[in-house]
Symmetry: C2
Subunit: 469 residues, 2 copies
């Protein structure tokens, strides 16, 4: 088969065998308890949003640190923001970047649910506030809320509140903890079409102090986030993530680090190009590393210690990228994990826009599924983006790069098609992981953007279109 666009094909109706999606279970493994940040309690519960009693649908994450816990967030830019997004934004603004708990549910997005939806989101916040050690006179809300699932249905709120109440200190049913099992339960409560819980942890050192970070995310469809900090407004894709660290970070620096990290991680992945009404990423920093390490830990702040801030920001970016990649890996119907790298563009934004366009092209994604090194479609998608400066077609090169360390395969060099070794192309495209590298020829000084995407399969159509069969 040749590696060029095939626009000509016959049509018939027929029976096709859907390629089994590769098992992804190995992406979930036990993590050492010593890698989890101190000063957090977590659990996952079955409240009854979903029918199956073995499925967890409500998650709780509480900070128990004696130090102040700072919080930051990025929310969907969709004009139809779900009630939990509106409520969490408001709380974070009123608290000037502080929060001590997260409550979430899967199975129902509490989106486009009118006044009832707002009341329900507030009820979840208040019930979770009551789990925290707070002065009884506190009027502040300390809980942020997230929901994911069906749009346009109201929550079974009394079931959810009952589940939250089961975690009061005096309850025998209390299951909150800080071991692997507790983190895993919370991660499971995030899941919708996900095939495995997405949980990761990380240990790093800044200025001689050991810090820990752990977090989870979810998402398999409606994934093409475009999230911004609360002040910017809304973003896109049903992607939920919560990241917790025991570092102490000032509110302002925490938000800056998260905004930077999200742009390069969650905002650089696409499963199906869809921005959701609920996308939310929450980050808490509780400073509990001080107690654990016995160090006199200074709060990380960009103005006070730029080097420490940059180190933290980079750790967070790498961690967020790991979590974001898990979402693509588990994309609905995905059989491939493809990195789209664009370099030599006039600006980072241009490179990012081209990488995004290639990553969402239905023709590119069906070609990836068909294991066809179809650079014509890659080029056509790239060319459809409006850039800040004109492209020079005669400087553009496209290369398929295998993930196994063997030689890359150039298919277009400086605008001229290569004579492609078809066997070699099939070898690379047959891998589960590979990279599509587009060099626009703008030279070394120009910017590089990287997007993570998956293929478009029969299984995607089945999951999203064929409910009724």
């Amino acid at each position: 088969m040749s590696a060029v666009s095939r626009l000509i094909t016959k049509r018939f109706s027929s029976t096709v065998t859907i390629k089994p999606t590769p098992s992804k279970a190995h992406h979930h493994q036990p993590l050492p308890s010593s890698s989890f940040p101190s000063g957090y309690l977590l659990t996952g519960l079955h409240a009854g949003v979903k029918k199956n009693p073995e499925i967890l649908d409500v998650g709780l994450i509480l900070s128990t640190s004696e130090r102040p816990t700072t919080a930051a967030a990025c929310f969907t830019r969709n004009a139809f923001k779900a009630a939990p997004v509106v409520v969490s934004e408001q709380i974070l603004a009123e608290n000037v970047g502080k929060a001590r708990a997260i409550v979430l549910n899967s199975g129902c997005a509490n989106a486009v649910t009118g006044k009832q939806g707002m009341e329900d989101a507030w009820a979840m916040v208040k019930e979770t506030d009551a789990l925290l050690d707070r002065s009884s006179s506190s009027e502040r809300h300390d809980t942020l809320v997230m929901s994911t699932g069906v749009i346009g249905q109201t929550l079974p709120i009394s079931k959810i509140l009952t589940a939250i109440r089961s975690q009061h200190k005096d309850q025998k049913t209390r299951s909150l903890g800080n071991d692997f099992g507790a983190w895993e339960r919370a991660a499971k409560a995030f899941m919708t079409t996900d095939t495995f819980p997405k949980l990761r942890s990380r240990v790093f050192t800044i200025n001689g102090v050991e810090y820990r970070m752990a977090g989870m995310d979810k998402g398999a469809g409606m994934i093409h986030p475009n999230m911004g900090p609360p002040t910017i407004g809304p973003l896109h894709a049903t992607l939920l993530a919560a990241v917790m660290t025991d570092a102490a970070v000032s509110s302002r620096s925490l938000q800056r680090a998260l905004t930077y990290a999200v742009e390069r991680s969650f905002n650089s992945i696409s499963v199906d190009g869809e921005m959701s009404t609920n996308d939310t990423i929450l980050l808490m920093a509780n400073g509990a590393a001080a107690e654990r390490t016995g160090s006199d830990v200074q709060e990380i702040d960009e103005d006070r210690d730029p080097a420490a801030f940059e180190a933290f920001r980079n750790e967070l970016t790498e961690f967020a990228t790991d979590l974001a990649k898990l979402v693509v890996r588990d994309g609905e119907g995905a059989t491939k994990f493809v990195t789209v790298t664009v370099k030599g563009a006039p600006t980072y934004e241009d490179a990012h826009n081209i990488a995004s366009r290639i990553s969402t092209s239905a023709l590119v994604k069906t070609a990836l599924y068909g294991e066809d090194a179809n650079w014509g479609r890659v080029l056509s998608a790239a060319g459809s983006v409006r850039l800040s400066a004109p492209l020079h077609p005669d400087r553009v090169s496209v290369t398929f790069v295998p993930s196994d360390g063997t030689a890359p395969l150039p298919v277009l060099v400086n605008g001229e098609p290569e004579k492609v070794d078809e066997d070699r192309a099939s070898e690379i495209l047959g891998l589960e992981d590979f990279e599509v590298l587009v060099d626009l020829g703008g030279g070394d000084q120009a910017e590089v953007a990287r997007y993570y995407t998956c293929d478009f399969s029969y299984e995607y159509v089945r999951i999203n279109g064929d409910y009724r069969s």
Copy 2:
């Protein structure tokens, strides 16, 4: 089944039966010869770009009028413009809106073909020029050229030139004509994955003179055009169209009318959201109605007679819309023809952008295939567009409108979900044609945009991903 987003579903690998795409053969019917514009000769030939000798792959359209023939065009805005696009743009600019012939081939797009591609496109132009009655000293080129098919391969140019030469006046093989058979042959030469030739004609009267218009187009995949006049630059989707009229229209007014018509027709359809390297729409006006009707026909010009110009522009817009709809009707794998109407937006551009986003959403299109009245996905797609003014979610309504004249089904009214009659929803979504109407609540003075789209099926994935099976 409920009419809400279903994000939760199980996964398995399995065999599915692809729904047979409904037969579309009835969209091609004989047309009366009296409806074709005078002063044109056409044919379609088998040159050998495609292997099967029964398939036509080269088309010729010549104007034989004694009056000057004006021409206008819209071309792809893709940065990687194919050689025929570059050549046609150049000729039209040099001739200041005049041309007398069109040559086209299917089976090979002559795109990303470097210097050889440019030479080949010029060779097609020159060989076709030689079919025209021209003074032998003319240095002007009178032919515009279009190609569609595989990207990255060079044309079998000698076969194409031989085919063109078979139409010289002294050749017995000459098949040029102006009857239905001739127009049909030309329309067939356009086809790639199309399942039927797309040919329409129209008769209309302006200032008491009868004019005729006929034309053809092609396209089934890589369809999401965004075309502009030559002065604006490039556009998107492998969509080719040629429209001929025997009205006399000034070059400037012809281009203005075409630009207006294309924005509301070809730039308002989407099969798969892909902009191609080759999209081209050509329009010729040869004034031959004068001879046919014996009238002293004045050239239509906006400045001279604005009412006549507007009448012509509106006829052209309706005709172009008919041709554009045929492309969606024949979309790769399509089982539905869906009109997406957006009203009550701040501006026409806002309405157009939202209609475009809904029409390209993979989640909306798989839901249409699944016959699921999933307004949550419609809303989520609409909300992801950046607008010139903020949306008011509590004023937004969504209605499914059947094509059979029965009652529309509101599913969201002023931001509040309706209790939906599921049997009625299934009835409407089960139709081949229906409308999704989104009212943003901006009131009557606000703009209306209409997009035509199709569903996203297993068959689309098979056509574009599964070559190798």
